[in-house]
Symmetry: C2
Subunit: 622 residues, 2 copies
């Protein structure tokens, strides 16, 4: 597997090279390698030379055949991604992470015997300690002379001291930029921000380059056990961030050296990996991370393509399983302001995190949902980016289908919101049953019952940009159902632990990379969200990114983040014995317990009764 | 010249590639290069293809003949060097730049939800801000677990904050080391110090790798005008320091990663070059350096072969021409303590710096002496290192000569103290006259009147370690006389400006790299020092290095350095119209004005009269 990675063969070893997912199967045509065998491969396949590359030790030169499925699973490239509008910071409230100030240094008196640095330091008299980096010192003599003492400094506050990041001759305050970046387990998104206006100039996203080494945080942690693989993961995510920067900055006419600050937000494991810190203790009792909030670092230390002294701030984490992405998300919901009643914040990513807040309390939990809603593990799934089908409307009888594509044109795949609408449509039209399997009686020409797994063709090959059909298989539906069951069951158990019911929730904030729009009613229909008035829901999009952007722009928001992290408590659901039971019960559409979805069931029964049959119930087997 | 440097051809372009010293002459055998010509080379030589390589532009491939004089002028290699004993810091007063502390982290309570960093940070509660570097964070998870919470931290105080430099599992306080380093224009010396005992473990020195690019600070500044040459100078001195570290640390069984702090001391230009900061404004009116005292930096930033996070402290400078080497020197003299009367501190290096101190004042000046007393520009000169002749005793008549060699064995060259004794001996024995030229009437077999320049052979070829004779030419003597005249005239003018005479000075401290011992009387005889009671003099050796060592060991000394730098005022002698006159008058042995050296003259007249002739006076022409 290491050799395949080095050779640039892209595949998604979901399990983190544990030998359990079977995604890295290749066929040895000649040469020797040792491997212990695996039940994932039939004896026949093993005889033909198929191996799990993550488990094999190469004993000499090999000729290897890479299955088509591997080479085709490479994630889509860098792309502008749609993000709901960020809540603006009012110009009067702008206090970005780095501050640009034009100064006129007083001329030196004759015989004063002061250095350039002394002259500069006088500007900070009484303002506490100022730290100067070597690169700033190197630029000092020319900068102070080029415009007769007129200079522009860029500063960041770091604890009780100030850090001088950059020195430019003349007045250079007109251009001042920063970056907000969300490091998700599956996707990375960033924004270029004009720090003078608070305006987001550009947004871009891509799959996290680490997904080839594991699909979720646990498999990444396992992959990172060897120091060289920890370093590989670090380099992979840094490359993803840098390729997004390299793509966005030139198209906006901004130089990398003009970016003097950045805020990163991500789950605790992702931040450990970005920093090259071994995250192993996150998954070992008592689940203690190396750090919850890194100190301010420099872009150069992290090898980011920004001004090397750029200040890098991290949104604070609550613990091993509730990271800085969640504090950033809660910041966006504004629940830290008074008078919001009881709110539920749900961030649906590869991990699902939930936060319940009242007037003076805030409690969180986490569950592992998998990356299905981000398009990973779904045959035609993709990120919410150009070419993704984001809405699907299946007409009665399943004959006609309407869909919308992000950015218009021919579709390339389906993103999270499209997948929810498609599954909801297939379910309400009776094309799939409550177990997520195709209803043979209702199968029209779009349902390919002879394929394995059985598949629903949403868009025929001729109408897609890839030349291949866009379809959803029973296996894909099962994946999506597992994801929604994880979220729903965590939510139910969490409410129970806190002693609340759905009716007690005044407002539900939904975060995630589903796309620009999310049809809440359809998400309730498939049982992703608990049934309550859809009007109480608000879809906020990628709140980790938006929260990072708020922190980039405002000191008050940075302080608020610290308060949120301090106030939030954490409930560990993984130790709950009820969890497995709740999860299994949620592996139906919308749920095995109809009483939890009375509205959905009533509407469906009405619809189905007209058609004189009811979708069957059968035992689930995945 | 750049190509020769890259090719490893070592020569000393004293003038800093200005085309004025003629040290870089090579002969073009074939190929083309452009150059403007130079009066330094006779027309005949130019026709033969001789060029000044620093002025030439290569136009294609060249075949170049490098004169023997160039390839032989390569300075002697790394060597242990003799340094007078450093004044010890009492164990009770030890407070080194980096501090090692063994800590036992309190175990985590169940469900406490704290990170490793939180656990560590608790140890600093109420102690102000602590800064953590990325490399320390990376070592955190393993360090805190390896010995059940028992760790050793290494800290440095930087202004109002603390900087955590290193984290080790277990109790590791027994080994704790630092480095003191003097960056001289001509020589670099360093000491490895045991920070637990304050004991100097090893001392080593070498020529500054920059001397191939200029003999003094002005020629280095000129050389550094191009950015790539500034970088070349930076790399050269860093290489010198690193080669000293690479030579000393292994022989003491100390790993580079065990050195967690260093103090550097040097003149203002040397420190600029070590940091890669353009020093050009040091020689341009109004002579403003980029900085007088760099902030604390890390060894990694400076590319030193130490623990990358090692704290690097710089002794503070007073101005462009009185650097941190002088404040370190004054620290060694202890004149900052009360009750010392009026003292004169003279640091004789490539630059000479003088400091006069009274009870509540301290005034300094500087002059350019050249590197003659450090053995550079003297045909058989060398640093005070193994193989150097450090004492010379010429018996009456000049027949028998006794000398001592540092480290014993056959001599390789003569160091500063040996040169002073040799010139004094030649002068008092009448072998050279007051103009420094050989007295033909007194020339015995050791004086080679037929050579050009005329030469005195101190050690015949068969008795040296190089197989070549060790001798002193009239040109060498002229160089030494220029150096001593620069020091003496600066001293005279300085005293006059301050309104003092020699008689007012209670104590004279001499610093420099002459060797272990310096014969004060002989230095007075040649007119290097003003004539006063030799008992008032004290030779301290390399005080820049010793002061750096004191600063390494004690916080009180670091504070004292800052006070010294703040208190010391500076007089610019270069603007004095009397200086040229005073200098010319001092270009005699001991001086044109006998009344300044009544004791020396009386003794000499007594000696000479016995021999019925008096050394002649002739016009000086160098």
């Amino acid at each position: 597997m290491d050799a395949l990675h080095r050779g640039g063969v892209a595949f998604q070893a979901e399990c983190g090279a544990q030998g359990t997912c079977g995604r890295c199967v290749v066929q040895i045509l000649s040469g020797q390698c040792e491997w212990p065998g695996s039940e994932l491969l039939a004896a026949e396949k093993r005889k033909e030379g198929f191996i799990l590359s993550c488990q094999a030790r190469v004993k000499g030169d090999l000729v290897v055949k890479i299955p088509e499925t591997i080479s085709e699973s490479s994630p889509a490239g860098t792309n502008r991604c749609p993000v709901p509008e960020v809540e603006a910071v009012a110009p009067s409230e702008l206090s970005p992470l780095s501050k640009k100030v034009a100064l006129e240094l007083a001329p030196l008196s004759a015989g004063e015997n002061a250095s350039d640095l002394d002259r500069l330091a006088r500007c900070f008299t009484g303002e506490g300690e100022v730290r100067y980096s070597l690169s700033v010192l190197r630029s000092l003599p020319e900068a102070v002379r080029q415009s007769q003492g007129q200079i522009t400094i860029t500063l960041a506050e770091d604890g009780t001291s100030k850090h001088l990041l950059k020195l430019e001759p003349g007045v250079q305050t007109a251009r001042h930029f920063g970056v907000a970046c969300d490091i998700g387990t599956t996707t990375v998104a960033l924004q270029i921000v004009d720090l003078n206006t608070g305006r987001v100039i550009d947004t871009a996203g891509d799959y996290n380059g680490q997904i080839e080494c594991g699909a979720d945080v646990i498999s990444r942690i396992l992959y990172a056990r060897k120091p060289e693989r920890l370093e590989e993961l670090r380099q992979r995510v840094v490359r993803t961030v840098n390729s997004l920067l390299d793509a966005t900055l030139p198209r906006q006419g901004i130089g990398a050296e003009e970016i003097t600050c950045a805020v990163f937000s991500g789950n605790t494991t992702m931040i450990h990996l970005l920093l090259g810190i071994n995250p192993r203790h996150i998954r070992e009792e008592p689940y203690v991370p190396a750090l919850k909030t890194p100190p301010m670092l420099s872009a150069g230390e992290l090898q980011l393509h920004l001004w090397p002294e750029a200040a890098v701030f991290f949104t604070p984490a609550v613990g091993s399983y509730v990271g800085g992405d969640i504090t950033a998300g809660v910041l966006c919901t504004q629940v830290h302001r008074a008078g919001h009643g009881t709110t539920l914040f749900m961030d649906i990513g590869t991990n699902g995190e939930l936060v319940l807040s009242g007037e003076d309390w805030m409690v969180s939990c986490a569950c592992s949902a998998g990356p299905a809603f981000e398009g990973v593990g779904i045959s035609c799934g993709m990120r919410a980016a150009a070419g993704a089908i984001e809405t699907v409307d299946i007409e009665a009888g399943g004959a006609a289908i309407a869909y919308q594509v992000i950015g218009g044109g021919s579709p390339r795949g389906i993103c999270g919101s499209g997948l929810i609408e498609l599954v909801a449509g297939l379910f309400t039209r009776g094309i799939i049953g409550r177990d997520g399997r195709f209803n043979e009686a209702k199968a029209d020409k779009r349902v390919r019952l002879d394929e394995h797994p059985r598949t629903f063709v949403l868009v025929e090959a001729g109408q897609t940009s890839t030349g291949k059909p866009i379809s959803l298989s029973e296996r894909d539906i099962a994946n999506l159902m597992r994801a929604k069951a994880a979220i729903y069951s965590a939510c139910g158990l969490f409410l129970k632990k806190v002693g609340l019911t759905c009716a007690d929730i005044d407002r539900v904030y939904i975060a995630g990379g589903f796309g620009c729009h999310l049809d809440i009613q359809k998400a309730i229909t498939i049982g992703l969200f608990p049934e309550t008035d859809p009007g109480r829901f608000e879809y906020l999009g990628n709140t980790s990114l938006q929260g990072a952007c708020l922190a980039l722009l405002s000191h008050a928001h940075r302080q608020r983040l610290a308060e949120i992290a301090k106030r939030m408590t954490y409930i560990d659901l993984s130790s709950e014995t009820d969890y497995a039971h709740e999860y299994t019960a949620a592996l139906f559409l919308p749920h095995t317990d109809d009483s939890l979805f009375p509205g959905v069931m009533k509407s469906l029964r009405g619809r189905w009764s007209k058609r004189r049959h009811t979708p069957h119930f059968i035992e689930l087997c995945f």
